[in-house]
């Protein structure tokens, strides 16, 4: 039987990928960030996952405003790396797990989550940066990846409660899957940041610290945060943290915190990295 062995919350700041790709990860600006990510990489390597369900948002690459699915699941066997306007990131191709992805799709839809199905799509930094952060610069990703996109680009995104419940449904679906697979779930994006308008550069460390604590101890409380509260208190793009709640929902009621790292700034963003195991 498949089971969820870990959850990772990880910011997907594009500059993190660029720092690695351009060989700048050891410079004065980036060194403290990348050193802070080493324990997460070591923890993940020991977990030896077979598959990751990676919850992220696309940034006008695979998807456009032409079609805006609230939840989308990638069922392909492979996912090319997107050209986001400056050429694709030089990272390995992402291989999917079509059998588990289709099982998830069927289970989730019958469990009343109306998933959009993607048989072909490129993946952007929202997916590849968290992989780089937690796997390092590798010739090939060490596990299969099932992309799960959440719309956070066109307001309104799904609510925190809805995302949390999606995570719970993912857990049920994984546990029904007959094959022995070790599955990790990523929730990406955040933490507090604002990329637009005269308030660009907004960061709220107090909000972020409360959120990190809540992720471990009281996620139900975090599901009560309204969209306006996210945008006001964690910046307009901080609303991405609903994706963290989807991951947290998949871990079950109690977790053990394995590692936590928080850093301001990471480019324009307060970045967070949180590793947990179901307890």
């Amino acid at each position: 039987m498949a089971r969820i062995v870990g959850g990772i919350a990880c910011s997907h700041v594009p500059a993190i990928g660029a720092a690695l790709d351009k060989g700048n990860s050891g410079n004065e600006y980036w060194k403290p960030y990348f050193e802070g990510t080493i324990p997460a990489r070591e923890w993940l390597a020991k977990l030896k996952p077979d598959v990751a369900i990676l919850i992220y948002n696309d940034h006008a690459n695979a998807l456009s405003l032409q079609l805006i699915p609230t939840f989308l699941l990638g069922t392909a066997a492979e996912f090319p790396v997107a050209d986001e306007g400056f050429g694709p990131r030089p990272v390995p191709k992402v291989y999917g797990h079509p059998k588990l992805a289709w099982h998830l799709t069927e289970s989730l839809i019958l469990d009343e989550f109306d998933m959009t199905i993607a048989n072909e799509m490129p993946v952007d930094h929202g997916l590849t940066v968290p992989l780089s952060v937690t796997c390092g610069q590798v010739a090939q990703w060490p596990f299969k990846v099932i992309p799960l996109c959440v719309n956070v680009i066109q307001y309104p995104p799904p609510t925190g409660v809805r995302c949390f419940k999606l995570g719970q449904a993912i857990r049920r679906a994984v546990e029904e899957y007959p094959e022995d697979l070790r599955v990790v779930v990523y929730g990406t994006g955040g933490m507090s940041h604002q990329l637009q308008g005269e308030r660009a550069g907004f960061v709220n460390q107090e909000f972020d610290q409360d959120f990190l604590n809540g992720m471990v101890n009281d996620p139900e409380k975090l599901t009560k945060i309204s969209h306006t509260q996210y945008m006001r208190e964690s910046g307009s793009e901080g609303i991405e943290m609903v994706m963290w709640l989807a991951m947290r929902g998949a871990l079950g009621p109690k977790v053990r915190e394995a590692y936590r790292f928080y850093r301001v700034p990471t480019s324009n963003t307060a970045s967070g990295l949180l590793c947990m195991e179901p307890a």
């Binding site: 594009p14 500059a15 940034h59 006008a60 690459n61 456009s64 405003l65 032409q66 997107a82 050209d83 986001e84 306007g85 400056f86 050429g87 680009i153 066109q154 307001y155 309104p156 507090s192 940041h193 604002q194 990329l195 637009q196 308008g197 005269e198 308030r199 660009a200 550069g201 907004f202 960061v203 709220n204 460390q205 107090e206 909000f207 969209h227 306006t228 945008m231 006001r232 208190e233 307009s236 301001v264 700034p265 480019s267 324009n268 307060a270």
Partner: protein, 133 residues
């Protein structure tokens, strides 16, 4: 029931909601087209002619030609889309962020290094009912 617009009193923030989506669609789809290297080349070769391929309003076209990053948001631009123009120009997110809040690049970078823009005084628009509480 539509979505409550109780976020309009957040200062310096342009939520890409239904109101902006209604007017911004073509502007953003132009930006999206720049994901294609051939289109980037065509845009750079003759910006005005390339923009005429899209049904933009005169204000939208003007904002793009002038690289008025804040102005683009006001006429329906979505930052994840308008940033594609910046990438095409060789600018970074941080360059554009600084320009949107009228801060010199170095000053903006310094603010981020010091922990970013502080929540204090930045949660409500000046003069909004909550701000006066």
């Amino acid at each position: 029931m539509g979505a409550p617009r109780d976020y309009e009193d957040i200062p310096g923030t342009y939520v890409y909601d239904a109101e902006r989506g209604r007017v911004g669609y073509h502007l953003n789809m132009f930006c999206m087209s720049l994901n294609d290297p051939e289109n980037r080349k065509a845009f750079k070769a003759n910006e005005s002619a390339y923009l005429d391929r899209f049904p933009l309003t005169p204000e939208q076209k003007q904002a793009v030609l002038e690289r008025d990053w804040l102005g683009m948001l006001k006429v329906g631009g979505n930052i994840y889309y308008t940033i594609k123009i910046a990438f095409c120009d060789g600018l970074t997110f941080q360059d554009v962020a600084g320009m949107m809040c009228s801060m010199p690049k170095e000053e903006y970078a310094k603010m981020m290094m010091a922990g970013g823009r502080n929540p204090e005084g930045n949660l409500y628009k000046a003069g909004s009912s909550e701000e006066q509480k």
